[in-house]
Chain length 290, copies 2
């Protein structure tokens, strides 16, 4: 989700052409599912104002699907018109943050989700934001996350994602939430979304993989953050996640080198070094006995 | 080991007084075992040239023990004269790196270890460097790490540490090496040493804890690196490790806030921001419902 969550909090307005290049580099690396844009009010998130233009320019390869984030019926209509393959709806688990982020309480947003779900003819996932903690309310009750998951599933979610929006989670929470959400929404695939704000993001991602989760959000270069959460910082970086997965024996079909190069390139576009470390450190050293 | 591995690769020569303050801040935070200095040739590691002066100035509290790194008999004599409570001897697992780091092959260093061990009247640990990979030889055979651990134990090591000197390891390796070294050196306590060079350090640390390991190296602020390994970067940061442990339910007796403040202070001393994230992001948010 580099083109969406990776960019939305950046002060530098990235050109439509550069956003399309970021997507194209991701496709070239072997990534087959990309959250490319969000269809939210351009006054609220100016970086995403060109969502339609981005979607018109991304490479349409066989087997690559594009996700658009939507928060209401109007966003859904825009997303469908722009030709996304999936929509992703965010429901924030705590009321204070939900109101600040999207102007409605959690329960009201679940009603909006019901309306969106009923009107969506394509794949639709729900991302439960602040599942691991809230910048305003502190602890997020895991029972509340499970209940939101249950309601997401009841309206037909294709997938449920648990997001550590502010990067406070630890692996023990990953395992606990996985168990609870699987019980509350049986049979619905799980996805996780981690930020590395306090250096726990990669440990959380690997813990999710150990729990059998096969879908993880990440952003090229590790950029990102939430405009409406104080001190929120970058997503886990796709290239660093790939390094850890590959060295753990996983096969992803994605080139960590191509993503790392894209992360370094994106740092140039944004005028600051990528939080990702692989582009600086290089991959696992090859043998060069002297 | 912030005062030792955290500082030894920094270009800015830190004053003896600031090194003593770093140690004192660590003690004030509740840390009870500190690798404060190394007794190596000052021409090789200039940052450690004032080891005796540092040891003369550190607070001598009940229950706090100080470790000095030594690589030969002369270093041991200096360490004992300076009044350290323990010595730590580094054996590099691969010959190419061993020769570059300390001028001898691994087998020769194991003979040096035998000599040091026989002459050491206090606690003595062996740290096996490059246990997870070598900057020059690539893969480090885990069988070789286990064999070095066996020889370390045979000469009376109080503790064996496995070091990911260049930050290439992943949790699967942590678990594999834990099993192998426990079999090769039964009954000897294990310690791990991780660098976060490719964003796997904290995942590795938490994997070690899950394996029952109770001693982990870390450096205040996450500074550090090896002068003789290309692209080696910081140790895992003590404050970020504490955050993850505390949020996982562990009790350490160490204040993450005091360490985080020390990391920020140390960044000022070194003239660059600490790699640690807790000092920037803050701890887990307290409830402040608006």
């Amino acid at each position: 989700m580099g083109p969406r969550d990776g960019l939305q909090n950046e002060d530098v307005l990235v050109s439509t052409a550069d956003k399309i290049e970021l997507v194209a580099r991701s496709v070239a690396a072997g990534i087959t599912r990309i959250e490319a844009v969000s269809f939210v009010h351009p006054g609220r998130v100016p970086q995403m104002a060109d969502a339609e233009a981005v979607m018109a320019g991304v490479p349409r390869s066989e087997g690559v699907s594009y996700i658009g984030l939507v928060l209401n019926r109007r966003g859904l209509d825009r997303a469908l018109a722009a030709g996304v393959d999936e929509v992703n709806v965010v429901v924030v688990a705590t009321d204070t943050f939900s109101v600040k982020n999207q102007g409605v309480t959690t329960d009201r947003m679940l009603e909006v989700w019901d309306e969106i779900a009923a009107a969506t003819p394509i794949r639709k996932s729900v991302t439960i934001a602040a599942s691991f903690g809230c910048p305003f309310e502190g602890e997020t009750p895991p029972e509340r996350v499970a209940e939101i998951a249950r309601r997401a599933a009841a309206a037909g979610a294709s997938e449920i994602a648990l997001a550590d929006t502010i990067g406070v989670g630890v692996p023990a929470q990953v395992r606990d939430l996985t168990r609870r959400v699987r019980a509350a929404a049986p049979g619905i695939p799980l996805r996780f979304h981690f930020h590395n704000t306090r250096n726990t993001g990669y440990a959380n991602a690997l813990a999710a993989v150990e729990e059998g989760v096969t879908v993880l959000d990440a952003a090229t270069g590790g950029f990102g953050g939430c405009p409406f959460a104080p001190a929120a910082t970058g997503n886990i970086a796709t290239e660093d996640l790939l390094y850890a997965l590959h060295r753990s024996g996983a096969r992803t079909g994605v080139s960590e080198e191509v993503v790392a190069a894209a992360g370094t390139w994106l740092g140039g576009v944004l005028g600051k070094p990528a939080p990702a470390l692989l582009g600086r450190a290089g991959g696992f050293p090859s043998e060069r006995t002297s």
